[in-house]
């Protein structure tokens, strides 16, 4: 904590020799000097960017010939690109930063000045969505094409990535479906996997039928082939792949539905600001409810008679109490001694309740 306060009070840093040189060589360009530990760092505006970069590379007193690193960074309102340079001729090093707003993430490319920037810019583009104008080939490098989101942005969550993606993807599907129905078209075409599955099922049926009829292997093959051809025709004409009658949920669907319930419950719990323990309990409750609904066709099952706790359950409950008490104590800012006492008291209360 002390370190932070010291940092806040620090005066704006003095420009180093390189920054002064830059100011001298590039009059009219605004340089903001930031805190540095190893390299001198200057922040420049996007408008001056190309001019500054060309000077950095070309001017004989600067001659930054080595682009050692290019990083993106997300500062929530702005995106930043950081260039770390080294000059083999003069042995000096410099970091240059340029910022661009979130809704207009464009920075001119430097890949024509330093070939090393080529892959770095591709990576920064896919990770942060910064578009490097003039880059010859901005295909994604590490992730697949058409990902639709920028993984290293702060708005991209890490912990709940599956839930987030699920919601995201289902939203896309929903939007597509709505658009399709609004246009008066049939339901969206089957996905490739679905088609393959349907095809496999069809083939199996045809084969079984052929075997049941006692056809020769050649005829059997022909029959299967005919069935596949018919399926392809149907697929192309749109007879298959439309909305089917609602079938009972498959296991996968069930699991998906369950996952949705869990996600919903968790976000609700978080919205209410529950503790982790309570959240878990809440989610468990939701799952229980869901499975009861599934089993009993939605009829709420009668409350199960309260059973006596097993030893494990007892220990778990106890642990819960302890954790809760400790958290409370910490939140109140108690000393270690007091905290211990507080926890002991809570435990005592708990065992008294149990005995009763």
């Amino acid at each position: 904590m002390t370190q932070e306060t010291v940092q806040e009070a620090a005066p704006p840093p003095e420009p180093g020799p390189l920054a002064r040189l830059l100011q001298e060589l590039l009059p009219g360009v605004g340089f903001a000097i930031t805190v540095t530990l190893l390299d001198e760092t200057v922040t420049i505006g996007r408008d001056d960017f190309t001019r500054v970069m060309e000077t950095l590379k070309g001017h004989e007193r600067l001659r930054f010939d080595y682009l050692r690193c290019l990083s993106g960074a997300d500062y929530l309102t702005e995106l930043e690109t950081v260039y770390h340079f080294y000059s083999f001729e003069h042995g000096h090093k410099l970091a240059v930063k340029v910022r661009c707003p979130y809704d207009d993430p464009h920075v001119p490319t430097v890949s024509h000045l330093w070939a090393a920037a080529n892959w770095h810019e591709r990576e920064t583009h896919e990770m942060y969505g910064i578009v490097f104008d003039g880059h010859p080939d901005l295909r994604p490098l590490l992730t697949e094409e058409g990902l639709g989101y920028f993984p290293l942005r702060k708005s991209h969550p890490l912990a709940d990535i599956e839930e987030w993606q699920e919601g995201y993807l289902s939203a896309i599907d929903e939007a597509k479906r709505q658009a399709a129905s609004a246009g008066g078209e049939a339901a969206p075409p089957m996905s490739k996997v679905e088609i393959a599955q349907a095809k496999a099922k069809l083939m199996k049926e045809a084969r079984d039928k052929a075997r049941a009829e006692g056809l020769s292997p050649e005829d059997e093959k022909a029959a299967v082939r005919a069935a596949i051809d018919k399926f392809q025709e149907d697929l192309e004409s749109g007879a298959v792949g439309g909305a089917a009658a609602p079938a009972p949920m498959s296991k996968v669907e069930l699991a998906q539905a369950k996952a949705k319930v869990i996600t919903k419950a968790r976000s609700e719990a978080r919205g209410q600001g529950m503790t982790t323990e309570d959240e878990k309990a809440f989610v468990a409750e939701a799952i229980k409810k869901f499975s009861e609904e599934q089993a009993g066709g939605g009829a709420p099952a009668a409350a199960a008679p309260k059973k006596e706790m097993s030893k494990i359950e007892l220990a778990q409950a106890k642990a819960k109490v302890i954790t809760k008490a400790r958290n409370e104590a910490r939140a109140k800012g108690m000393s270690t001694e007091d905290e211990k006492k507080f926890v002991a008291e809570a435990l005592k209360n708990f065992s008294a309740e149990q005995d009763a």
Binding site: M1, Q3, E4, V6, Q7, T34, V35, T36, L37, L38, D39, T41, D65, Y66, L67, R68, C69, S71, A73, D74, V82, H84, F88, G91, K93, A95, W114, A115, A116, A117, N118, W119, H120, M127, P140, L141, L142, T143, E144, P151, L152, L158, A159
Partner: protein, 379 residues
């Protein structure tokens, strides 16, 4: 009887076709899950399209959600052949941000381990490279015999063979065993013999000379422009080593040379690496002599490290080149931005420039000479 046309088709009457050969992601020459699409005209490669990302695990994003000490383990998993070097870089970056000074003894331990790790990495390179050139596993087994010694030594110290997770901001996790010096000397003695064995297999081998000399020559200016670093850059004749150019840790206390090549061709890259192993041995020997006793962890460290607002781009000389970590701290216990500058990522980006116009078999050894580690390329 029908007449037969006996005219021989001219060069332009025959239609030739470029074919695309997909090398990888499962191919013995790609050293991991790397893929390149070669466009070949007969045996000559006319275009190379490197495709990476099969091992992308979000190694830059994950540490942004871990506290400073937890992120050490992720650096073992970037360059998984030079784990100590990467850890060294990261803990120094954190130390720079937080203002911690590591203890004297831990600095020596770190340097010794990092240099030994450099040797293992180069041994791995020599072994894998010789397999690429076509030696049926012999040099590979020789290299691995010695690598195994160092790995055992590392295991005795850290309890791990791959993901050591041993360095900490301010020092190392625990002290080395009592017999550290003797064991290290013993290992070093055998390594020296092993290096001369490898030299005998590779350096003066006529077929290696015929295959590698003059192949894929790179000028210093090109190398700098492509952001190439490490042995590849030194092979072009430039005497540039971060341990000397920007001495970090305690490297300014040791005497060692920077081996360089002349032409920047494949052969020079191999020679530079073999010479580097010898220099690393020198550093380790000096460090063993001077290693002091004392604490292995700086005093007064908090349980949770908090770095004040600031940023640092820390770089070290890894076996593959400049390994850098760019950290932005905002006063929290986690890095706000955590960027890994991987040496083989930058070196690999020059693959196309190096290999177009060469034979298919040459592209394989050019790729081998870059010495990529896919964990580092894809992060």
């Amino acid at each position: 009887m029908a007449t037969i046309d006996y005219t021989i088709p001219g060069e332009h009457d025959l239609e030739t076709l470029d074919i695309h050969v997909n090398v990888g992601p499962q191919h013995p020459a790609t050293h991991g899950v790397f893929r390149m699409v070669l466009t070949v005209d007969g045996e000559v490669v006319t275009d190379v399209d490197p495709i990476i990302g099969y091992m992308h695990r979000g190694n830059e994003k994950l540490p942004e959600n871990c506290d400073f000490r937890q992120a050490i383990g992720f650096h073992d998993r970037t360059d998984y052949l030079a784990q100590f070097n990467t850890e060294h870089c990261y803990v120094q970056a954190v130390e720079k941000l937080t203002g911690i000074t590591p203890t004297e003894r831990s600095e020596y331990i770190r340097v010794i381990l990092a240099e030994l790790n450099r040797i293992t990495s180069h041994q791995m390179f020599v072994g894998a490279f010789s397999t690429d050139v076509g030696i049926f596993g012999t040099a590979f087994m020789y290299a691995f015999r010695d690598r195994e010694l160092i790995q055992d030594f590392f295991e005795e110290i850290t309890g791990e063979r791959m993901m050591y997770n041993y360095f900490r901001p301010g020092g190392v996790a625990w002290d080395v065993p009592d017999n550290f010096r003797e064991r290290c000397r013993q290992v070093i003695g055998q390594i020296k013999k092993g290096i001369s064995d490898l030299e005998g297999l590779i350096v003066n081998n006529e077929v290696v000379l015929a295959r590698c000399c003059g192949l894929s020559r790179m000028s210093t200016a090109d190398a700098i422009n492509w952001g190439v670093s490490g042995p590849l850059l030194r092979a072009t004749g430039l005497e540039y080593d971060l341990r000397k150019a920007e001495p970090y840790s305690i490297y300014d206390r040791f005497e060692f040379d920077i081996p360089t090549g002349k032409d920047g061709d494949i052969y020079d890259r191999v020679i530079v690496r073999i010479e580097e192993m010898k220099q690393s041995v020198r550093i380790v020997e000096q460090a063993l002599l001077r290693m002091p006793d004392g604490p292995i962890m700086a005093e007064g460290l908090k349980r949770v490290l908090r770095a004040p607002e600031g940023e640092v781009y820390m770089r070290v000389e890894g076996p593959r080149g400049e390994y850098g970590v760019y950290l932005v701290a905002t006063g929290a216990d986690k890095p706000y931005r955590h960027r890994v500058r991987a040496a083989s990522f930058c070196n690999l980006s020059a693959l196309r420039a190096m290999s177009v116009g060469n034979y298919v078999s040459d592209v394989v050894i050019i790729l081998g000479s870059i010495d990529i580690v896919l964990g580092e390329v894809d992060r």
